[in-house]
Symmetry: C2
Subunit: 427 residues, 2 copies
């Protein structure tokens, strides 16, 4: 079929009639599918059930340094957990704090601490007239929700397959001391699945921020979440690169096992310089006596080491790869020549990003919803939920069973076609 | 032996010579005992080892409403956990949020939220020139550390066996709108083991604070932590009493299973009015996707219900009651007639409180430490670590084995005698 842009009005009308008829069929199916969030599916969760037997009532619950993990104490994590998560994050265990179950919570608390007490002796952000964050877009809605909640002004920075527009980042960060941070998902980004190029990481490490309390919020959520064994993105490790560049304190790096073991019952971590760690620990020791060490030990006993974790992630990949590939095949088949949509084909992570014609995303998501499938709301990938082009849609393939996802993909591409045809006819 | 105050100088000197000789014996023993914190002992932790088998790899990890507890979601806790913790806290499950592993963390976050975003539409505390908290003394050092960290001015309020001086509390709270909160450990208080009388609780519920965002921080840490089966303190439930008094939003009530199952691996909770819950949830949903539901389910499967929890607590009591009783016996035997110290004899909780002669607490703790036993630092039970009388010492009997504790008790009473005798001789 030829591109919609090249069709005559009559051809488009004929096409639209056929599409609408097809849409009616979907409505008659009374679907109730939810693909709004990046949740693992049941089969993925089953992979980690061995976690439940990793500790048992006759096991010795001592950490390798003799600490009884059942009792109080150990603010920053048991040594073997730091070593395992260090290997996962590619950081020295001494640069790591092991937290509770949620890296989002760690990010929130990091912003909150900067707000109430400032970073390394700087004025608390709450005392400043204006605080701004750079937000590569499209990006992760929960990041933007944190900065919005704190009244931080968010500035969009366009993403490309190699990362954020670094010319823009460098210029803004160097010229405006109100800019205190940037949200990054450097590897298999949410929602595109892009990974930052070597040049991008190097330029990040060499930023010259006007604000001495500017920090890169480096959310390494998908560090080992590859879809393929033979094709994987590899990034320069940011903490080391910052050190090499003479900017050792520039970055907070976050990660967790939420999408490795159990969402909500994993362990989260932060890696950063020793200066930043000291600053953080001065607050952390007021906030808590320590995080869940039993769960830390459970993770270590289950995985044993990073090799165990990597093998484990291959099993995840085997479950979700077919879902990504089916979507890509369906999109190609249904939309390939029509010139009405573009999508990313990531090698890892949890999402794909879809670009409709300008002004069509909201209408597509609405139409898909009326067909019985809930997707992430259009606009959610932008600060303040405002997509200036109304064109980006986040696709979360992992949760629904493959067959449901196939149905949803057909419905989705159908809706893209209908909305696009209507758009051309209006235009 | 007669009271030191009635001894002649010669008698005191003779006594002191004998005491110092005895102290040398202790120093020769080269003790290394730590009774500084209120930690459960190993035998107590062993009681909960069944927790490790409560979930297993072939178990169904669904909550009673069908939620897969392994996955994301459920911000405020699974229903059966709310019911169990509700029964433990004597609150309706609908008034409860189940959090992560640490009620201290919940308290910190509660203050932090008030600081950055205010309580129910009020001005954020961080925007005010002055914020004050009332602190019943002696009290819990980690409470005071939170308010100190946020630059909140702390005002001492004397404690009695029936609770804080309520005349003072009522007057201060009604007259000063900068007073935004009060720290309370209402049952088996830290460090005295006092429980608030019915009158005290009723007066708390009927406070008329000048500040509409004044809240009682009701840390119900020891709600079911009785030492005796036949003698237990029973309190009026504060949330219900506030409702009856027409002050439904006046209180945040905190609790956890830290000293029921495993410190650091329990579940914490907050109980409060629906208005407060709504206010809190507006922030909580930004901070996290949810807490550890697997651990919530683990607790429910292990205890089954509140009766299971109460039986469990009897086993704790059987381990620690002899420690409290031995201390009381030793204190009575060694210090009974001397008029140089007073101590509390609680029926529950984790601590005893000891009052030396004025100006002696620091010297006693120092001398005990040089004898090889670390106690909670003198002053720690007061805001800013400043005990105006230098007379209060917190005693934490639970952690050391009974025989070690016996040695420590002998050393402690010896040091009280030495320091007191020296005090009288100086005077």
């Amino acid at each position: 079929m030829k591109p919609y842009a090249e069709m005559t009005k009559e051809e488009l009308l004929t096409e639209l009639m056929a599409l609408r008829k097809e849409y009616l069929h979907f409505q008659e199916m009374e679907l109730h599918l939810d693909m709004s969030r990046g949740k693992p599916c049941r089969e993925q969760l089953d992979i980690s059930m061995g976690m439940m037997d990793a500790l048992y009532s006759t096991a010795d619950l001592s950490s390798e340094d003799g600490t009884d993990v059942r009792n109080y104490g150990v603010l920053t994590g048991i040594p073997e957990a730091k070593r395992l998560i260090g290997a996962m994050m590619e950081n020295n265990p001494k640069n790591i704090i092991i937290y509770g179950n949620s890296s989002l919570n760690v990010m929130y608390d990091t912003v909150a601490r900067a707000f109430t007490h400032g970073i390394m002796g700087n004025v608390p952000w709450g005392k400043l007239k204006k605080v701004k964050f750079l937000c590569p877009v499209p990006g992760y809605d929960r990041h933007f929700a944190i900065t919005e909640y704190f009244g931080i002004e968010m500035i969009n920075v366009p993403m490309s397959p190699t990362g954020p527009d670094m010319d823009m980042v460098e210029e803004l960060v160097a010229s405006d001391e109100n800019i205190k941070g940037i949200w990054c998902v450097p590897k298999y980004s949410n929602p595109q699945g892009y990974s930052y190029s070597d040049e991008t990481v190097r330029r990040f490490a060499r930023l010259k921020p006007a604000a001495s309390d500017f920090r890169i919020f480096w959310d390494n959520a998908y560090g080992i979440h590859h879809l393929y064994d033979d094709r994987q993105d590899v990034l320069i490790e940011i903490l080391e690169e910052c050190r090499r560049a003479g900017n050792p304190d520039l970055v907070y790096k976050f990660s967790s096992t939420s999408k490795i073991t159990f969402p909500g019952s994993g362990i989260a971590a932060l890696a950063t310089s020793l200066n930043n760690l000291e600053d953080i620990n001065n607050q952390l020791k007021i906030q808590t006596i320590g995080h869940d060490k039993v769960n830390q030990l459970r993770h270590v006993r289950f995985f044993k080491n990073i090799e165990g974790m990597r093998e484990h992630m291959k099993r995840h990949a085997a479950v979700i790869r077919p879902k990504f590939e089916m979507l890509e095949d369906t999109f190609k088949e249904e939309l390939g020549d029509l010139g009405i949509g573009e999508w990313t084909e990531p090698m890892g992570g949890y999402f794909m990003s879809f670009e409709t014609l300008p002004g069509c995303a909201k209408a597509v998501v609405d139409k898909v919803k009326k067909g019985g499938v809930v997707m992430t709301g259009a606009g959610a990938t932008y600060p303040y939920k405002k997509d200036p082009n109304d064109s980006n849609i986040r696709i979360a393939p992992t949760y629904p069973p493959l067959e449901d996802l196939r149905t949803a993909a057909k419905l989705f591409t159908l809706c893209v076609k209908i909305v696009s045809a209507e758009k051309y006819l209006e235009g």
